[in-house]
Amino acid sequence: MSDDTSPGCATTAAAGSGGSSGKVRAPVSSSGDGGSFTAHPDQVLENVIENVLVFLTSRRDRSTVSLVCRSWYRAEAYTRSDLFIGNCYAIAPNRVTDRFKRIRSVSLKGKPRFADFSLLPADWGAYFTRWVHAMSLAYRALEKIYLKRMSVTDDDLSVIARSFPCFKELVLVCCEGFGTSGLAVVVSECRNLRVLELIEDEVSDDETDWISCFPEGTTNLESLCFDCVEAEVNFDALEKLVARSPMLKKLKLNMFVSIGELYRLVVRAPQLTHLGTGAFNPLVEIGQQQGDNQELDYTSLFAACKSIVCLSGFREIAPEYFPTIVPLCGNLTSLNLSYANVNAEQFKPVIRHCHKLQVFWMDSICDEGLQAVADTCKDLRELRVFPVDPHEYDEGPVSEVGLLAISLGCRKLQSILYFCQQMTNAAVIAMSKNCPDLVVFRLCIIGRYRPDRVTGEPMDEGFGAIVKNCKKLTRLAVSGLLTDKAFSYIGQYGKLVRTLSVAFAGDSDAGLKSVLEGCTNLQKLEIRDSPFGDSGLQPGLHQFYNMRFVWMSSCRVTRQWCLEVARRLPKLVVEVFSRDEEEGERGDFVETLYMYRSLDGPRPDAPQFVEIL
């Protein structure tokens, strides 16, 4: 491959310990740079440990190792190559770059999840800028960046493009702040780029033809995902790019790519394993007469694609083309039909071929469709049923009937996200018993405070059964009419729960108390519009330092309590803010409380509306 010889890309552990640590030492490989090598026994031991630690990849293990003693701390710091920071404000960039010298891959997460639902004001923070600048100086050999819910600018992308000669992978999930011109810089300057994945980002259309900016000649591209980019792409350039990317396995097109264009791409890339199909619709082209369109044989659209296992897209689907995916169905392990407008009659003949399906996302589905899934997809691990209409109604297309069907048919289910208008305890209890492998259970009954549709009871028993019977459960989201009893169940049985999401639920502080006292592994707690306040949070004081964050909005937490907690737990950053400018309307209660541990105190970039206590 032409670009493998760029300088600074040596993959062995050459080039000294980076920066002046003031300590004379030799690096792991013997191509040291000047420091004298002492044969002191401790040094030898340290070298041995370093050689061993290189093989240690699990984050938790590494963390444990670093606590053994100073020498092991140093050895671990020296050999860690993957950096994961779950909250970008938990630590300052320079502290990271001081401790870890040889990072190849960085994962950073920024905003709290409720930002996705407009509960976090714009300009709250999570800026990538100060991180990318610190890394551009410290980690010249950086290869991978993964960001989630961060604010990334075009300038930041330029810094990436220009600072890391070995850069290979960029994955941006739920990020915003950049545009197609930033992408253009990345693709043109990162000559070793293998992976560019843009997932659910907000990308502004600067009308830059970024696809044309990939360098000439064969590329190393393995994955190119731009389905969220709402800007036209230059199809000719895209076609040529795909033609000269023999390693391309994942290609996710955006809604501007028509089915005719998809056909042309797929024909050039029969080795694809993951495909996002774009519009899946003929889409009228500018200036084209009706007769110009060759009547391509779409029935054989996918005939040559023996390797596709993951299918998504269908952004503007013309349903008559849906059956063309049938030849692929037998091999599919992942199918994402959310955004696809198909009805049950169109859906059932297709899904009945998907015997190997493990991951299935859908929105326009009804109970009948779910029954079809349950009948065929015996291997299903992950199901996401999104709402087709986000309003609160008395009835919806999916209900307890669909949930029950899935629980009976898909016994290996591990993760479920299910939006519905109505639910019953019986169906949830059934799922808790039929699907004991559940790790993630997120049920969203869109009608707030809805009780069991049949008995009129609260949904306490259903969720209670989930935490009791699903012994591997780590993530839970609750909804519907819930009393404190539900939370006492969660506290009692949810010992492995790490993430808990609560909205419009509970009666009193007793509920929150049960959770904070009982869920010893709780890491992330997000609550909105529930009657929990100061005394509910109080038991958490011993826990907050072990957690990634706590989010409480529209609850009953007083400012007084927040001040008190900030005083008692100095390493906790306590942020208080309102969603919009309504001062004093909530009296003593804060609108939003967001608190998280941090080694470096309050962040320097907090906007005016955020108060850090």
Binding site: C174, L283, F419, E457, K485, D529
Partner: protein, 192 residues
């Protein structure tokens, strides 16, 4: 839920998500108003554990359907925008769907006019949907310079140029849309 009406009036002025008070018994913050209005009637038939059948029921209320609370349901706004367009045929809810055809296109589309607040937004939506360029309307020149010209059929059955009348008037009288080729649209813009 016959008391729905009074609650609806109540909710006109309140910012739902921030004014919700799930008051504990004995608390004396604002929501006396809420206490006297529609309470959680959904629980009237329940025999929940007696410990929780108290005033708390009164202070909780079930919000009327179709009121939108910020960030609820918890669906990413990106997905929500797309959902708005994808309502099923049987849904006769708040959408205002009109058929849209484009000369040369083999299929009709449907558009919810309520999704848009201005001509600009509508044009954008049409351009995305049909992958064409419509350009901007000017009073003097109509759509001169564009290959495609958006027209609509109004209540009286007449075909008009989109952009002629104020937006609100347009939405209330537009029955269907047709994107014509500009050579065919001459003559429409002349009726001023």
């Amino acid at each position: 839920m016959d008391q729905k009406k009074s609650t609806l009036d109540l909710f006109h002025d309140l910012d739902l998500a921030t004014e919700l008070r799930l008051g504990l018994p004995g608390s004396n913050d604002q929501p006396e108003i809420i206490k006297t209005s529609l309470s959680g009637n959904k629980r009237s038939s329940s025999e929940m554990g007696s410990s929780t059948c108290t005033d708390e029921q009164e202070s909780r209320f079930s919000p009327p359907t179709k009121e939108q609370v910020v960030g609820w349901p918890p669906v990413r706004s990106y997905r929500k925008n797309i959902l708005q367009v994808k309502k099923t045929d049987s849904d006769t809810g708040s959408g205002m769907y009109v058929k849209v055809s484009m000369d040369g296109a083999p299929y009709l589309r449907k558009l919810d006019l309520k999704m848009y607040k201005s001509y600009e937004e509508l044009m954008k939506g049409l351009q995305v949907m049909f992958k064409c360029i419509i350009g901007l309307y000017s009073e003097r020149e109509g759509y001169n310079g564009s290959q495609h010209v958006p027209t609509y059929e109004d209540k009286d059955g007449d075909w008009m140029l989109v952009g002629d009348v104020p937006w609100d008037m347009f939405i209330s009288s537009c029955k269907r849309l047709r994107i014509m080729k500009s050579c065919e649209a001459r003559g429409l813009g002349d009726c001023v």
